[in-house]
């Protein structure tokens, strides 16, 4: 029985135990329903860290709600929004999708930060995710978390720690990615800002305090990513027009936002459009886009692709995939175990002794959690293996995809005999590493996890 099945069985068992307790059964039913949903990914961060911008970038459309409430974005064929106020019946909000943009009519309804708004939105990006936009200060109710930090120096890690307050969550700190969300500002808007942001991220992900709390630190130029993902024809045309102006002339207008969006500026296009450009792209984005168009990315798709690539968004999406969505069942199981732990603590019941034991067993025995923790350790440099070994370890524990082919580094789905053949080489090597006295204790432990992953592969 794998972890997800164990958790599912435990939830059902709890349902039997608590069948006379309506509150508990409601709670359990909610979590059973969530089990089959896509991964719930929350975007959290302090005020002004670019949560909405990143949300737009991930969805690929401008879906920002514009109300201070916990907003859930789910994939659906039709567009609709429902508000769930605390202590009042849910209400449908009139809304429409106009010109790839969300238009919500709150219609005089007071929405407080504690309320929940569910937005159904047709988008391919929401296929395997439920995105949750969490207002600052609210604890997200999610399987995994993107924690946004504008800059890594002197960052307040307390909100990050509160994510692991629950004992089960604390035992498995595997569901957070730290995003340096305003990477473009770190370099004061220079075109190479993202390169230095990457260096900073690399340095900070090695900080012992931070690396215990997250799977990885990823820099993203949020504005650039969202602009690239939602680039529109008029914006492209305006940028293309700017690119035709000689560089020396244009540069003096790109010195500051004021100059660029000035009413009497000789630049093409209206001041309002330029203002919109600078709002959407940032001065850094405008400079970069103009440079890219000059260098030949002169269609909407190529420019969009270049912008997205330069924003570091691709890395973020890969990280979300590798760390979270590839392993949705693991996170579902983890959330279910947390929910069960909370239930057992809040509503003690004599029949739950076996349940508590099975939660403990699942936590102690789950190889998936150890794999994820090892991935984080490999990425953040807590475990330092020789380079080729590190790469292989990362691959074998599922850092590049969790299917056997990705783990073994082969193109096609390998047959059982292929797997046996490949493992015949890998197995002894890692067994040896697990007992290699030249390695540190942390590294030997890592090698043991790799061996365990190999065993799991052999059993498929």
């Amino acid at each position: 029985m794998n972890l997800a099945e164990t958790a599912w069985a435990a939830l059902n068992q709890a349902l039997e135990v608590y069948q006379d307790n309506p509150r508990a059964t409601h709670w359990l039913h909610r979590h059973l329903a969530r089990f089959s949903e896509p991964l719930r990914l929350a975007i959290v961060g302090a005020e002004g860290t670019g949560k909405s911008t990143l949300l737009n970038a991930i969805v690929g459309e401008q879906v920002e709600l514009g109300v201070r409430a916990t907003a859930e974005y789910r994939a659906s064929a039709t567009v609709s929004a429902t508000v769930y106020p605390t202590g009042a019946p849910p209400r449908e909000l009139p809304m429409a999708r106009v010109d790839r943009r969300l238009q919500l009519d709150a219609g005089g309804i007071e929405v407080s930060p504690a309320d929940r708004v569910v937005v159904n939105w047709p988008s391919r990006s929401l296929r395997d995710l439920v995105l949750i936009d969490t207002p600052a200060g609210q604890i997200p109710d999610a399987d995994a978390v993107l924690h946004l930090m504008p800059r890594p120096q002197n960052a307040d890690l307390q909100p990050l720690r509160t994510l692991y307050d629950n004992p089960v969550a604390g035992a498995t700190p595997i569901n957070t990615l730290v995003v340096l969300s305003r990477a473009d500002e770190i370099g004061a808007g220079r075109v190479d800002a993202l390169i230095s942001a990457r260096q900073i991220a690399r340095r900070h992900r090695r900080e012992p305090e931070l690396r215990e709390l997250c799977q990885d630190v990823v820099p993203v130029a949020g504005l650039l990513a969202s602009a690239g993902r939602t680039l529109e024809e008029p914006e492209f045309e305006a940028l293309a027009a700017l690119a035709t102006i000689p560089k020396a002339d244009l540069d003096s207008h790109l010195l500051s936002v004021d100059r660029f969006a000035h009413k009497e500026s000789p630049l093409p296009g209206s001041a309002a459009l330029r203002r919109q450009l600078v709002q959407r792209f940032g001065l850094f984005g405008v400079r970069l886009a103009v440079m890219l168009i000059r260098q030949g990315s002169d269609t909407v798709p190529t420019l969009a692709a270049q912008l997205v690539q330069r924003s570091g968004f691709g890395e973020l999406r890969d990280a979300i995939g590798q760390c979270f969505t590839d392993r949705t069942p693991v996170f579902k199981a983890r959330s279910a175990l947390i929910a069960l732990e909370v239930l057992l603590r809040m509503e003690p019941h004599p029949g739950t002794v076996g349940l508590a034991a099975s939660i403990d067993r699942a936590l102690a025995g789950a190889h998936d959690f150890r794999e994820l923790r090892l991935l984080a350790s490999l990425r953040t440099g807590k475990v330092t293996l020789p380079e080729d070994l590190a790469a292989e370890a990362l691959r074998l524990v599922g850092g590049e995809g969790t299917d056997p082919a990705a783990r073994l580094g082969v193109e096609d789905e390998p047959s059982t005999s292929d797997v046996q053949y490949l493992l015949a080489d890998i197995f002894p090597r890692w067994r040896g590493q697990a007992e290699n006295p030249a390695l540190g204790a942390e590294e030997r432990r890592a090698a043991k996890v790799v061996v365990r992953s190999c065993e799991a592969l052999a059993q498929v």
Binding site: G48, Q153, S196, Q199, I200, R203, D258, R275, Q279, L283
Partner: protein
């Protein structure tokens, strides 16, 4: 003319000295030196990455402070005027607690101007933790007027040493709660503050942000103006000589403010700064004083008084115990004496009875030696038993009284009683005088007895014609003689026995008398010894307790005196501080409008 603020500062320092606050003194003295050198020190503070260093670079148009995407200022950099560009790193003793006289003069290391701060930061991050600051001199018009710019590390800027403070905050975000709190702290030490809204070249909405910041500041009561600037634009403008761009950078206004509002009004700044400093010092001095005063006012009954009461109670208890044990001791000893006497009498009587029985049969003349030994033995046994019993009973009494006097301390008063055993009274049994019943006496008594018989039977037989002395009368004479001797012997034995009994009785009586006396004496002695011992103990105890009670009382009295005296002193000090505070108010009537 001596400016009024200097007077106030000196008075504040004097008060600090009176209150033994060398820490405050040191800062004030440092500040005094700064104020007197006619320079205006401007501290640039802010959270990391807000462009503090770049702001300074733009102000002096030179890349003197190291800037970088991931660089944080670790060491303060002091930028002031000099004829030629110079730079040095000042090293200080790493032990800040050492006395100034012990500290070696700060060491200076000359470094190139461009890399001074970078090098200082690098070294401070590394093994050299003792870098005090980087000192940079530049030939600039702005600095020549006496302006000194200080770039500070993000954490804990020492605002007390500044005449004015510039907070750098970038225009992409509003002022955070932490920044506003920092400003609040700073304004208490240095009331002249300005917020430089940096990086306005990058932020599309900097005007709204500036407006919101002004609202925030007004709401939190921080009298600081917000000046939007762009260091990037200013540096480009300086490079290209573009006046328009320089105007756009907002530095015109910043420099104007530095020069006209601050530099030319150095006197006002000094006054304000001294007022704030003196105010805060007075506050720091008076808070503990008020607390202490409140403490002195509390009639702190507390531990000492409780102890004192406890001591009194113990004395009383001791008094009661003392009478109680004395009664107990007397009663017990009286009982004991009665018991002892009875025991002695009983035992001696038993001996006499035995003696009587013995001499009813035995002849003292024959068995006297044997009897003497036996009697001695008996009497010795009586004396020993009686005495042993007495000792035992005394031990027991001692233990009983000790339990009462010092309960729970069984080891106290545990000396053994050891008087001598009075056995000498047993000696000297005199042998009764026993008449000898010799042959001649026997003969004489026989003769006397036989005379009657002879005569009687002689006369009778003479009637029968027999001579007076004939065989019959001779026979009767012999028989009568023999009977007389026999009877005499019996009488003599009786007499001897009676004499033996009397002698033994007298001896036992003597023994009873003298041993009884001795025993009573011993009992009295022991009684006295016990009484002395116990009363000595309880006297010691009482002395101890009353001594400690006296000491406690003394402490309480002293404390009250001290408290009253201290309260008086504190009152005086508070009054003095109050005067000082009024002077502070008079010096700075809080010209809010002027600052903002």
């Amino acid at each position: 003319m001596i400016p009024s603020w200097l007077d106030l500062l000196d008075d504040t320092m004097r008060v600090c000295a009176q209150h033994d606050r060398a820490d405050l003194m040191r800062r004030l003295r440092e500040r005094r030196d700064h104020l007197l050198d006619r320079k205006v020190r401007i501290l640039v503070v802010g959270e990391p990455g807000q462009g503090k260093s770049q702001l300074i670079n733009a102000l002096v148009n030179a890349p003197v402070c190291a800037v970088g995407d991931d660089l944080t200022t670790r060491v303060p950099a002091v930028i002031e005027h000099s004829e030629t560009p110079t730079a040095s790193i000042i090293l200080g003793p790493d032990d800040a607690g050492r006395l100034a006289i012990e500290a070696s003069a700060p060491e200076r290391i000359g470094v190139p101007v461009e890399s001074a701060t970078a090098q200082a930061n690098r070294e401070a991050a590394g093994p050299r933790g003792d870098i005090l600051r980087a000192q940079i001199g530049l030939p600039r018009e702005l600095l020549a007027t006496g302006l000194v710019l200080i770039d500070t590390p993000a954490e804990a800027p020492d605002a007390i040493l500044a005449d004015a403070v510039v907070l750098a905050s970038d225009a992409t975000c509003e002022l955070t709660a932490a920044e506003i709190a920092l400003l609040g702290r700073i304004t208490r030490l240095c009331p002249t503050v300005l917020v430089a809204l940096t990086k306005i070249d990058l932020a599309p909405d900097w005007r709204q942000i500036a407006e919101r910041n002004r609202t925030h500041l007004a709401k939190s009561g921080v009298p600081a103006a917000v000046v939007p600037v762009s260091a990037t634009l200013r540096l480009i403008a300086a490079r290209t000589g573009d006046r328009d761009l320089n105007a756009e950078s907002g530095f015109g206004e910043l420099v104007h403010r530095l020069r006209h509002d601050w530099l030319e009004q150095a006197e006002l700044l000094s006054r304000r700064s001294v007022a704030a400093l003196a105010g805060i010092t007075v506050e720091q001095l008076s808070t503990p004083l008020h607390k202490e005063f409140a403490a002195t006012q509390q009639t702190d009954a507390g531990e000492a008084v409780a102890k004192w009461h406890a001591a009194g109670k113990r004395l009383e208890a001791l008094q009661i115990t003392s009478t109680r044990w004395q009664t107990l001791l007397n009663d017990e000893v009286a009982d004991l004496m009665a018991d002892l006497e009875f025991d002695l009498r009983d035992r001696t009587r038993r001996i006499i009875r035995e003696v009587d029985e013995y001499f009813d049969a035995a002849d003292p003349a024959r068995t006297w030696e044997e009897f003497e030994d036996w009697l001695l033995e008996q009497l010795t046994a009586v004396a020993e038993t009686n005495f042993g019993w007495q000792l035992e009973r005394f031990e027991w009494i001692a233990a009983k009284v000790a339990r009462q006097i010092a309960p729970g301390r069984p080891d106290v008063l545990r000396e053994a009683l050891s008087p001598d055993t009075p056995l000498e009274h047993v000696d000297g049994l005199r042998k009764p005088t026993v008449e000898k019943f010799g042959i001649s006496q026997k003969l004489f008594i026989g003769m006397r007895g036989s005379y009657g018989g002879l005569l009687m039977f002689g006369l009778a037989t003479s009637l029968a014609g027999l001579p007076l002395i004939n065989p019959i009368s001779l026979g009767a004479g012999a028989a009568f003689g023999a009977k007389s001797v026999f009877e005499e012997r019996g009488h003599r034995l009786k007499r001897r026995q009676a004499a033996g009994k009397t002698a033994a009785q007298r001896h036992v009586d003597d023994f009873f008398l003298s041993y009884g006396k001795e025993s009573r004496d011993t009992a009295r002695l022991l009684h006295r010894a016990l009484r002395d011992r116990f009363s000595g103990f309880s006297q010691r105890e009482r002395a101890e307790i009353s001594e400690s009670a006296k000491a406690i009382k003394q402490v309480i009295d002293d404390d009250v005196t001290r408290r009253t005296k201290r309260a008086h002193e504190i009152k005086n000090a508070i009054t003095e501080l109050g005067v000082l505070r009024q002077r502070v108010r008079a010096l700075a009537p809080i010209p809010r409008g002027l600052i903002a």
